[in-house]
Symmetry: C2
Subunit: 674 residues, 2 copies
């Protein structure tokens, strides 16, 4: 079939094919055909990024017989690479050092593609391709010549233009400062980092293939960070820690109050969060054995107040109406040094855009990660914290709001509440006949009615109830008839069960009692949960009303709360509207995933910047309808909304009227925002 | 003539004319006609930059009768302005607050034009128009509204787009950080500084019209700086000081040696020059009563080693062949903070490009200032320092080289030499009959043979001889026959004059003798001057040869040396080639002027960046012809080049041969570069 002087090569998965003279390097053939194969070293057998597989056999559909001897034997370059880096896996070859000797079918594995996908998205939308803003290039530069007095920089740029077709590059001063020594130490070979195809931001002597990026989600309680390899997209280390700003106030509003009362308080908080970021970065770099100056890019998400403090913007304006953001644009191209980040001093920082005074870059990250804007499906995204951020929409329209749920879902303002930690009750079931509970505790595998439970609890004890535990116990109390749909603990049941006890003028349900403590769900606890869930539901309902719908196709619950609650109970309580339970799922740390996507894809940055501009912001604080929705949502699961899909899984109690709850709901104070 | 409802207005000097409804503000009419009138405040009567003159009378050529009552009476706005800023001079009016009531001829004085010329250039070339890279704009921004949650930045940008047609602006993080407070303090009016029409770099509450720039010439001996008003181009303060790097070495080579021997020596020198720059900046700002953070731009020129050290680039590569520059591009858009400059932290810095290892940004500045590249005339530019930078060319071709003249022209390596300061002999005449000298001393107005001279000298004495004095005395010695054309002091004349004295195996000429000291010109001094002038002339000749010419049309001498020497004597000695003496002039601090032009004109930056790329670099160190030219130039004025134009002014002695000089010249050591 094949001409003696030419070889036919077919690349998969692209299917691109062409004939080349025998002796052509595989990488060169791939380049000529526009096949996506990565390379940092420019085909010098240094980086190992251009690995390919030979597909052996007769490929009728390609019309090619592809056999091992159709490629050149392992070259000295490949052998040297293997000596340094270990054997090439699965018989792979370095395409730069392997010559075509006959027809061949060559597979380019995902790891060798420049534009491989970075995050698995829903089936119906396009994947996001790896396209980091920083790329590395190795070049060999001509030595200086007194007769042609071109500067080292000019010769470097000539080499970059010639080898990599990079032209019109701008240059950071540190690169100019370091270039001469790097060239001479590297024997006129250097690796440069190019930002956004247009600016030299780093130079190293010789070949170096390490370029990393940080993706950070700065929450008011927790900071979570991922260290990613920019060329592979791989997360090489992840970590989290408490936000040290907690010492200035547990929640956002108390931090803003601190700033209002302390001149330079904002600067102190900015310093404290940046210090934590640096500690966290060192931890990540150490864990992954990555030098700090190989970290060349960082992306940040956070709620508006956290995002402001990270970027040194005083957030006081977000503490009161009209809640004006300093900027609702992305923070782009900021130098790491301007944030005192202990990464490469020329590294750049990208902050996702905030959307409105209460809807932050974390919500933008969630939108980017979940991408409701790409599909027809009507998607509801909910991130529950002290505020709930709510996004509703599809490719046609996108709405967002923030609703002041307060900290009850996190176990605060609950008599026996605590953070989700060992000793916290997280799962609860109540027998509707005996009203006896059984429960599970974080740190243990057993239910409380199983043998060995007490022994298992001995080390940490049973110390309280966490967010998911509260949702379940209140929902179970409702399903067992301990509380009415209006949330009243039925004192009449005290006669039937010792679990129902008088608590002043109201009643409480005793979930657990031991020598150390009693964990009871009081009437006040039920009210706190009702207020929180009514705020969340009212926000959702407001968006649905603005959208003109009374159903949603899919619900994604972001954040730690979303990851731990049982959606059936959340819906039973009426936190979220009725929906096919199979379509209500956790989105994990969607905000952090958004930061990671923005770290790895330039296109994603432009995409989210464009999408957030289209988001319709709904202001719950000034919407008269919000209050109506709120009052109706005080009932469990709701005053009048039906839950037909939930009813297929859960037997909801028959309705009994209780007028007092509505009145109380109406009297509720508007709590702090944030 | 005029319609009751319309007025005809003619603007001068542009000649643009048009009819406008009675009641139109003059500024609005000007804008509609594209007449160049400045404004920072957008027509709010705050900045006073839009002042115009009414031309009174009947203007037949315009067909207009222009009378005072054709303009509205002084408005409240104008009166308020005068109250704040003093009366408008010469009956001028604020065009924004003055309405057209009838036909008028309106003159826009240069001070009110945005694009007025900044530097007087030669008649045959175009002037450079004021076009600073930083401009100020006052805007009033909509207050935030909870129902339209656009950020403060978005509303600022909307105002800038609407009022000033500025779109697509990027933003420095400090502007984001300061914006909210500035808007609220300024009652929603702020002034912003925009860099290069595309980036917000500063914001102030309310109206502020101060934007300044620094233009700095960093010499190895002296740093000179100008503070300029960016909107008017006016130099508001100038100052200079010694370069403190002198403590690391008097000349450039000894500083490079210091760096080679001391690790981090380059950083110490960078710090020391930057410290001096900051002291000098504070001095300028204090003198002109300008706040440091109103300085928004700075430009720098210097020789390659100084320019490197200012920008934190280790200059060791410039200490030896092949003299590779780190970069020969302009340093553009550097943050002031990256240089630790104590001006506005978002101010940007521009460094003119270096041309080659020995031809620096100071030469680029000189080229920009003198602009030989614009005319047909063949121009020779010479900047004499320890090295001489030489540029030859016209609009067709431009050549440059550096020649190692050494420090003799500055009075170093001369027995009685000193820097140009009080007490230094600067002018010398020798009577060819008696061989008696007369001279003038810096700090005095009298010649030494005039009555009262001794008394005038009493305070500082006569301490030595400076560069211009040495040129004159050696030239006069030649014209008086004290030395031959080969520079030999004629010992035979000792019999005729006591001024000629034996000095070891050679002779010296006693210029001055008093109780304290004897100032004599020794044979070694003559040799030092011959070596220096031969190096300079050889460099010039080399460029002329490369250009293919044996005459030049014009010679411009830059720097302090050029400003003080008498060109007739310089030509008599053969420092420079024969030329019409009327066309040999001082260019002043042309390098510094170049920095100032680059500060005030973006176009000039692009111009010089493009021109330096076309400059043909001639390397004297490797050109075999240089040595030949050098040897021939040891003779006074030259071994064989004729000086016909000089001869019209000076009677050159008849030639007497003296073979020894040539031999000695040939033995000369190649001195240090720089």
């Amino acid at each position: 079939m094949s001409d003696a002087h030419e070889a036919l090569v077919v690349f998969t998965p692209s299917g691109r094919r062409g004939r080349f003279p025998v002796g052509t390097p595989v990488l060169e053939a791939a380049r000529a055909l526009g096949v996506d194969i990565d390379s940092v070293c420019g085909g010098r057998g240094l980086c190992g990024r251009c690995q390919v597989d030979l597909c052996e056999g007769r490929f009728a559909k390609h019309g090619v017989s592809s056999w091992p001897d159709h490629l050149s034997a392992k070259s000295d370059t490949e052998q040297a690479w293997e000596k340094r880096r270990g054997p090439l896996r699965d018989g792979r070859r370095l395409s730069c050092s392997t010559l075509l000797l006959g027809d061949a079918v060559i597979d380019v594995p995902p790891a060798s593609q420049v534009h491989r996908q970075i995050v698995r998205k829903r089936a119906e939308v396009l994947d996001i391709a790896l396209d980091p803003i920083v790329r590395l290039y190795y070049v060999e530069v001509q030595e200086p010549d007194m007769h042609v007095p071109a500067s080292d920089m000019r010769r470097l740029k000539e080499a970059l233009a010639h080898e990599w077709r990079l032209t019109g590059l701008e240059t950071d001063i540190r690169v100019v400062q370091q270039l001469q020594q790097a060239l001479r130490r590297g024997g006129w070979g250097v690796t440069v980092a190019v930002h956004d195809d247009r600016r030299l931001i780093a130079v190293w002597p010789g070949f170096q293939a390490q370029a990393y990026g940080l993706a950070v989600d700065v929450g008011s309680t927790t900071i979570a960070a991922h260290l990613c390899h920019l060329q592979t997209g791989e997360v090489v280390a992840s970590t989290g820690r408490m936000n040290p700003q907690i010492r200035y106030g547990e929640d956002l509003m108390s931090r803003v109050s601190y700033i209002m009362m302390h001149p330079s308080g904002d600067q102190a908080m900015t310093r404290s969060v940046r210090d934590a970021l640096n500690e966290l970065t060192v931890e990540l770099a150490t864990e992954a054995d990555v030098p700090l100056d190989a970290i060349l890019e960082a992306t940040f998400v956070g709620n508006p107040i956290m995002q402001s403090l990270v970027f040194g913007i005083n957030p006081v304006e977000l503490g009161g109406a009209p809640f004006a953001l300093a900027t609702d644009e992305a923070i782009d191209g900021l130098w790491a040094t301007e944030m005192d980040l202990a990464i490469h001093p020329n590294a750049r920082v990208y902050g996702l855009p905030c959307i409105a005074g209460h809807v932050g870059a974390d919500t933008a990250g969630m939108i980017l990660s979940e991408s409701p804007y790409l599909g027809e499906e009507l998607m509801l995204l909910v991130d529950v914290g002290t505020n709930a951020e709510i996004v509703l929409g599809n490719r046609h329209r996108l709405l967002a709001c923030s609703s002041p749920t307060g900290p009850a879902f996190e176990g605060a303002q609950i008599s026996g509440g605590q953070r989700a930690a060992a000793g916290a009750i997280e799962r609860v079931r109540i027998d509707p006949l005996t009203l006896e509970p059984r429960f599970k505790v974080i740190g243990g595998e057993l239910w409380s009615d199983e043998p060995g439970f007490d022994a298992a609890m001995a080390s940490h004890g049973i110390t309280g109830i966490c967010g998911s535990g509260i949702i379940e116990v209140v929902a179970e109390m409702y399903l067992a008839g301990v509380i009415t749909r209006d949330g009243i603990v039925q004192g009449g049941l005290a006669a039937r069960s010792e679990r129902i006890v008088a608590d002043g003028r109201t009643f409480a349900y005793v979930l657990h009692r031991d020598a150390t403590r009693t964990i009871a769900i009081t009437q006040a606890d039920i009210r706190a949960i009702q207020l929180a869930k009514a705020a969340l539901y009212a926000g959702i309902r407001l968006l649905m009303e603005h959208f003109g719908t009374d159903r949603v196709d899919r619900i994604r619950l972001a954040g730690a709360f979303g990851a731990h609650i049982d959606v059936k109970y959340a819906m039973t309580l009426g936190l979220i509207p009725d929906c096919d339970l199979a379509h209500v799922t956790s989105a994990g740390n969607a905000a952090g995933t958004g930061a990671r996507i923005a770290l790895l894809s330039r296109k994603a940055r432009r995409e989210i910047e464009e999408v957030v501009r289209r988001v319709e912001k709904v202001e719950t604080a000034t919407e008269p309808r919000f209050q109506e929705h709120f009052v109706a949502a005080m009932a469990i699961p709701h005053r009048h909304d039906p839950f037909p899909q939930l009813s297929a899984h859960v037997t909801l109690p028959a309705v009994t009227e209780d007028a007092s709850a509505t009145a109380r709901g109406g009297r509720r104070r508007r709590r702090q925002r944030a």
